[in-house]
Subunit: 179 residues, 2 copies
Amino acid sequence: MRVDARRNQVRILEAARAQITQTGSDVSMEQIAKTAGVAVGTLYRHYPTKTDLVQAVLTEFSGALVNWVEEASQTLAAPGDAMARIVTLLTDFVEEAAHNQAVKEAALVFDAAYLTPELEDRGRRALQILVAAARTDGNLRDGVTADDIFLLMLSAPSTLPQTARARWLNIILTAIRPG
Amino acid sequence: MRVDARRNQVRILEAARAQITQTGSDVSMEQIAKTAGVAVGTLYRHYPTKTDLVQAVLTEFSGALVNWVEEASQTLAAPGDAMARIVTLLTDFVEEAAHNQAVKEAALVFDAAYLTPELEDRGRRALQILVAAARTDGNLRDGVTADDIFLLMLSAPSTLPQTARARWLNIILTAIRPG
DNA sequence: ACATAAACTGAATTTGGGTTCACTATAGTA
DNA sequence: TACTATAGTGAACCCAAATTCAGTTTATGT
């Protein structure tokens, strides 16, 4: 692949993410092209259809989140750290969901897979490590599973104002901290 | 207003709700008209623009939910009943959110107000009654407010499969039941 | 430097759906 | 029944945005 092609592919993906975040998934291809500094035709060279481009944005986004979780699980240092990481992840995910509400919306509008099966699997595995450690430390309520944490992350509200998001987090934490 | 006009207004609103639920908010006005058994022009007589129609569907929908909450609070009979009602409401709201996921999506796409200020207010008041009663009964965790329950209802996940929804409900209930 | 396959360009085409409006039908009234 | 304001009809209009493609440019191997 020619280097200019690779460069443009990256630029287009970035522009698409930025524009979707800012305007919503109803941005025009023209607008995305303009932001990326290329002509529309170039978008179609890399992504045969708008759906493909949106799908790519979604996968990149959820991929970043999964990486986030994996990093948290792989850099577990001090014992007793695990629960703190889980709390941090949940906190960050709510903010991320709020900041990228348009991206989540895009997943609905294009009914595209927000997570690929592969990403979902990686996310689950990483969380299992964190949850197991937190359980050993005695910092997790009995009966709370990695799947529970996972679905809380997925269902983090994206349309609530800051105050309500903080409140949501508190409720959630009450549910997963030891009784 | 002529009776045929009133009748068609109702038919159109119902058709719009049904079609949005089934196909998403990107249904064409043509399709809604067909379902309602009228011509497109009639849609525009009652709703000057598609946005207005969608807004009407949203308000009708959230209005129904608020009525639901009010009924629960007004028919409180046996003492000790309040917490059971709250649990039922939360259970029903998750299912409702899942069943009407497209309606919630419409609120995003048209960035229309899901709840009017008036409906929000009525919902809050009704919940305050239920929460106060549940607190008196000692069936609610300390610190849990009517606003908490309200935001949980609003942020009930709509895209998760049945199993995950049940799990979500369990987590939430753990958080609001007495410690 | 040259050749050429790979990329890019952007005007033109296509498409789909929101919206209009001149005309027809009908409910309500005298 | 006759009148008329109100309501309904649906083909035609309009426009925005997705997609195409013939012509042009450029990266890269020899």
